[in-house]
């Protein structure tokens, strides 16, 4: 690795000062797990890294609102902190479930919620889950603050809508009474491989009738994407085999899936049909 400048601002003003240059090799540093891999492979040679670890309160912590029970999660929260939070386990168990097969203990001890989103890698496990949960992100820069749905962060393959000087500060995750969620990580080569597809699923059912739902597909496409067509097939309906089959067809029809070394496009579409039907049915009858 070639050397670089490393700064640890303690205020947002200082952070924006260090980041606010027209140079994409000046980057924020969260847990550094993704950056270090790219730096070691010489894919990224930074001029300056701006560590976010001393920015304090807004970037830290897992808190529940006493008003509506929603969560505020600081962007520097590590995956281990999520994994071991009793509050998360109680109210957002899908996050605890997702952690089980995400990387390994050492990576989870270091990787952060914000870095995970800003990386823009479509194979990551958490983005489709946050989207299924209807989470939003608060983004700060030198001219102000904006809050956007997590899905609006992603614009393409490793591409995001974040601009130089933008920092993800925190996530807001609603806790929706009556909703159940699940993440399906479909690996095709080895259990611990990157997923061929990831499905974030969240739904609200009464008996076998689906009142509302969100289905998000990742890994098989260029960015995590809601499957609106499949959702529309299922919303308001009582599920049966024929309906689940139609939802799977709608999902396969509305996505552009490419062949890669985790499977051919037709194979991955087949997996998508099968897993959507299975997951919806399992969640409804849970």
């Amino acid at each position: 690795m070639t050397s670089f400048d490393l700064v640890e601002p303690e205020t947002l003003e200082d952070a924006f000062k260090w980041l606010g240059v027209d140079d994409s090799s000046v980057r924020p540093f969260g847990g550094g797990t993704a950056l270090m891999l790219m730096m070691k492979a010489q894919l990224f040679t930074p001029v300056r890294l701006v560590s976010l670890r001393k920015l304090g309160r807004q970037f830290e912590g897992i808190e529940r609102s006493s008003n509506d029970g929603s969560f505020r999660i600081g962007a520097m929260t590590t995956f281990s902190q999520l994994e071991h939070s009793p509050e998360i386990r109680a109210h957002l168990p899908v996050i605890t479930q997702t952690m089980k097969t995400l990387a390994n203990v050492r990576v989870r001890n270091v990787a952060t919620v914000g870095g995970n989103l800003a990386h823009g890698d479509p194979h990551l496990d958490l983005p489709p889950v946050w989207m299924a949960l209807d989470a939003s992100a608060t983004i700060v820069n030198s001219s102000g603050t904006r809050t956007i749905p997590v899905g609006d962060i992603f614009s393409g393959y490793y591409e995001t809508t974040l601009e130089q000087g933008d920092l993800i500060a925190e996530l807001r995750v609603p806790v929706r009474p009556g909703w159940r969620s699940r993440y399906i990580k479909v690996t095709t080569r080895a259990e611990h491989d990157w997923p061929a597809l990831g499905i974030g699923l969240s739904l609200h059912a009464e008996g076998r009738v689906i009142k509302d739902l969100r289905i998000v597909l990742s890994a098989a496409i260029d960015k995590p994407t809601r499957l609106i067509g499949a959702e529309n097939v299922l919303r308001g309906k009582e599920i049966d085999d024929a309906l689940l089959k139609r939802a799977g067809e709608a999902a396969a029809d509305e996505t552009h899936i490419e062949t890669d070394n985790r499977g051919s496009a037709p194979y991955k579409k087949h997996l998508l049909r099968v897993h959507i039907a299975r997951a919806v049915s399992a969640l409804v009858t849970e």
């Binding site: 690795m1 070639t2 050397s3 670089f4 400048d5 490393l6 550094g32 797990t33 270090m36 891999l37 730096m39 070691k40 890294l49 560590s51 670890r53 281990s80 089980k100 990387a103 390994n104 203990v105 050492r106 990576v107 001890n109 270091v110 611990h192």
Partner: protein, 164 residues
């Protein structure tokens, strides 16, 4: 522009300092500046665990971590695990189970098993396997490693009993 800085931290219980460049990893620093070679780089990608060190009670990959951030931290490596001439119960368990062939992966496995037992003193076999998915043994001593974890659980329980 790029200049070293002096970091001060605890290394295996001793207060130390080092002049560090921003790009130095923890493995670089341990091997080059402290002549500690137990944490070694193999995959260099966070996958294999050969470089495992413990920072403030948390296992991390020394190959993916910058030494710069160690300022003020409490760092433990495999070299600091034994108590003088007395091996740590996890080390002793690996010997009794014969949980290695070449031994290259062993320091990393021992560091991870120690964190496992700190979090779960009496883990299920599923917890053991799950916790160790990020450690690779090219000699494939996995069955013996699981045996070693079980022996270590018993040894730790025995020690706790003696202390209590």
């Amino acid at each position: 522009m790029t200049t070293p800085r002096t970091i001060r931290f605890k290394l295996n219980g001793r207060s130390v300092s080092a002049d560090i460049m921003p790009h130095e990893t923890i493995v670089d620093m341990l091997t080059q500046r402290f002549d500690l070679k137990g944490a070694r780089e193999s995959c260099g990608q966070g996958l294999c665990g050969c470089c495992t060190v413990n920072i403030d009670g948390m296992a991390v990959s020394g190959c993916l971590s910058l030494a710069w951030f160690l300022d003020g931290k409490d760092v433990q490596t495999i070299e600091g695990v034994a108590n003088g001439a007395t091996l740590d119960p996890v080390q002793q368990a690996f010997i009794e189970a014969g949980a290695f062939q070449c031994g290259f992966c062993t320091p990393g496995f021992i560091m991870m098993v120690r964190q496992l037992l700190d979090l779960h003193p009496d883990p299920t076999e599923d917890q053991m396997r799950h916790f160790l998915t990020g450690n690779l043994c090219r000699c494939s001593a996995y069955p013996e490693i699981i045996d070693a974890v079980k022996i270590a659980v018993a040894k730790r329980a025995e020690l706790a009993h003696l202390v209590a």
